[in-house]
């Protein structure tokens, strides 16, 4: 085996009931380099990584690390061998502190078995400072926002000085500011000879940070190229297998009546929020992590109580005390956090899709099974969700496909006002394009769309109007045309 490769994967295959997740994959990783792995949702990226880190065992194939053949039986072995991984799904210990989360399994000790608390906390502080992550290390994990948790997970993966760090969509939950921080960290790591496997659906990021790019499709190896020879178009071409001319196919739709307006809304994490959104309009909402955008939308959807303020739907004042009330009015909410508020992971694809629209296939008491199945299949087809069937337990779908199920579920009710909170989080470029097309389509049919996003290109590309939120207050409103990254960031950072 040639030594200049830190890691070699050969003829690796893995299948699940109904799916061949990996099919004769090979991959070579060099020390000190960033190797991006890309591919559509369900291509097999995470599965490949879980095999590397010892969470899954392959059906066949071989892995060589530092020249020796390895087969990890547990993550424990993998970590000892010098691998570490940022998982696509957050894996926090909710009731433990940030510091404890970071060093879980590798606590500094006074003597064997005895934790050195002071060192634990000071080390954690040092690390967070070095990485420039502004999160107090003695906070309980369950008080952090998703974005904050994500940064902690990054710090955790860095903290055990691994020779190879796998990053499975580390930026899907964070905004540009943190992305820059992360890239700083990656450059520092590679400079010290650490190899990084970087998984992302964001072209610009990949082109910016990667040395090599490997593309998978439906579990098969498609190509490996030097990032230098690639540009956005060719990259998209490799991934999707065809060219996507204009991802944001934004159409000009003239604004209709005001559908929803909010007056001086104050609540947990935000205060005196006022804005309108009209039929046919896409209202972008930008801001840094923890700005409180999600909280605002949760309140509008009746998930959280408000302290003061009032809602108007189609001009007349309404009370929104529960999600049920919001949905009855015709408001739909696509949550940023599919695991916590989006999906029932233990249930099937079908049951998730129809959960909030059972009235469409029942007399409100008895469910019409055939009708329900048809509705589910239609949605699966319409949103082209990769699943063995409508009765697959959703837990086993790839991250991106889970996100698609959330969309299918919410849109099934045909809401008038649709709130998209980070709608394309973890979604592949092809699906993204579909979702954008869907949004414009919805707008064209006179729906009002509110889109929270931490991806500035997306905000700029899709919005007719942009509100910028900074710690719980609207600090600026920009018209779609006039908007630039710069003026958005100005309002966002102040």
């Amino acid at each position: 085996m040639s030594e200049n490769y830190l890691l070699r994967i050969q003829h690796l295959s893995k299948s699940f009931p109904g799916v061949k997740a990996l099919d004769d994959i090979h991959l070579d990783i060099e020390a000190g380099k960033v190797h991006a792995v890309m591919g559509e949702n369900g291509a097999g990226k995470s599965t490949l990584m879980k095999i590397l880190i010892g969470m899954m065992t392959p059906d066949s194939g071989s892995i060589f690390f530092k020249g020796e053949r390895i087969s990890f039986h547990s993550v424990h072995d993998a970590i000892k061998a010098g691998l570490s991984m940022i998982h696509q799904e957050l894996l926090p210990f909710p009731d433990l502190t940030v510091a404890e989360n970071i060093f879980m399994g590798r606590e500094p000790r006074l003597f064997p078995g005895w934790i050195n608390r002071n060192k634990l906390n000071t080390d954690a502080k040092k690390l967070m400072n070095r990485l420039g992550i502004p999160v107090k290390v003695n906070r309980k994990m369950n008080t952090l926002s998703i974005a904050e948790m994500q940064m902690v997970e990054i710090a955790k993966a860095i903290s055990n000085n691994a020779a190879l760090i796998i990053m499975d969509e580390p930026t899907s939950a964070i905004s540009q500011k943190e992305v820059d921080t992360l890239f700083g960290i990656i450059r520092e790591l590679t400079a010290n000879g650490v190899a990084v496997i970087y998984i992302s659906h964001k072209m610009d990021e990949v082109l910016q940070i990667a040395d090599t790019v490997t593309v998978l499709r439906d579990g098969k190896w498609i190509a490996t190229k030097a990032a230098a020879e690639l540009n956005k178009e060719s990259l998209i071409n490799m991934i999707v297998g065809r060219s996507l001319d204009n991802i944001f196919d934004k159409k000009q739709i003239d604004r209709g009546e005001v559908l929803l307006s909010v007056k001086n809304l104050s609540g947990n994490g935000f205060k005196n929020i006022s804005f309108d959104v009209c039929a046919g309009e896409i209202l972008g909402i930008a801001g840094l992590m923890g700005a409180g955008r999600t909280e605002i939308m949760r309140a509008i959807f009746g998930l959280d109580k408000i302290r003061s303020g009032s809602f108007y739907f189609k001009g007349k004042q309404v009370k929104i005390k529960s999600p049920g009330a919001a949905m009855a009015l015709g408001i739909g909410f696509i949550s940023e956090d599919r695991k916590e508020t989006g999906l029932v992971l233990s249930a099937t694809v079908k049951n998730n899709i129809t959960l909030s629209a059972l009235n469409q296939c029942s007399n409100n008491y008895i469910i019409g099974k055939k009708k329900e199945a048809k509705i589910a299949d239609d949605q699966i087809w319409k949103f082209n969700i990769k699943t063995p069937g409508r009765n697959q337990v959703i837990n086993y779908l790839s991250g991106g496909n889970q996100q698609k199920v959330v969309l299918a579920k919410v849109l099934l009710r045909d809401p008038q006002v649709i709130i998209f909170d980070e709608p394309t989080r973890g979604i592949d470029i092809g699906a993204k394009a579909e979702i954008y097309r869907m949004m414009t389509g919805l707008a064209a049919t006179g729906k009002a769309i509110i889109m929270i996003s931490s991806e500035l290109p997306e905000v700029l590309g899709m919005s007719d109007r942009i509100l910028v939120v900074r710690n719980g207050e609207i600090t600026g409103e920009i018209d779609g045309e006039g908007a630039t990254q710069e003026n958005i960031m100005q309002y966002a950072m102040g």
Binding site: F16, P17, K50, M55, M56, T57, F301, L303, S322, P323, G324, A326, M327, A328, F333, S335, E340, T341, G342, L343, V344, L345, S346, A347, N351, L355, S356, L358, S362, N364, Y365, I366, I367, K369, V393, N395, Y396, K409
Partner: protein
Amino acid sequence: MIAGKLKQASDIISRYGIFIAFIVLCILLSLATPHFLTGQNLLIILRQVSVNGILAIGVTFVIITGGIDLSLGSVVALTGVVAAGFAHPGTYPLIVPLLIGLFTGVVVGLINGLVITLGRVAPFIVTLGMMTIARGLALVWSDGRPVSNLSPAFNFIGGGDWLYIPVPILLFMLVIVVSYILLNNTTIGRYIYAVGGNEQAAKASGIRVNAVKLFAYIICGGLAALAGIVLASRITTGQPNAGIAYELDAIAAVVIGGTSLMGGRGTVTGTVVGVLIIGVINNGLDLLNVSSYYQQIIKGVIIIGAVLLDRRNAK
């Protein structure tokens, strides 16, 4: 994830796993004693399991929502003595003790549900408290003595036959069918699974989580009352100390049947199989006249063994 994979694979096996365990058990017993596989004995087993069966199906609803009910046994006693108190010959028509008994159980379930949802107290502790409360009430109501001398009509519920089939069995069947439909073909049933699977998501889907939970606890209380009435009628007396530890057998049956105590997953059919397994063990060990001491050991081993065969309970 690896767990996930195994789980999925096993989900397929498991759809049959516990049935297999049950069949194996029956075959072994038929080989061990000629008295097991007789029509009469099977009928007797069914009659013996009907009380635990009704309880187990009731608590299945609660467990799917992610809760638990430890007050079952005491509620059996309470509703038994209360109903019996109105069932003396020549006092009230049969319907009165039945309605009052069921009502008592429903009220207990309602209280459990309210404290759990509005009070936001762990179901385990609420129903544990209710366990001693209901027991106390049963003792107060009956002054610590059995309530006996009950009308023939009342005793018919637990002791009588209808078309050659014992009434308890018919009631058990009825409960099975209704519950099956409730959980599989109705919206409320779907909501029960959703609430147990992910409360947050259920809420965000516009489901009235508290109402759903209340419903589950009320069903559970009502069925516990039915079981209490059947038992009192079967032993022709309301016993304030009846049903001690019945909740454990009921919950065991549910878990053996593959319902996850984490909530979100579970089936009526599974519970029924669980109930039958426990019933067959008790019956078989008596038929074989295994000494009481060893009976307990064997029973425990078989229960664990049966579940080992069934991967649904993998955590």
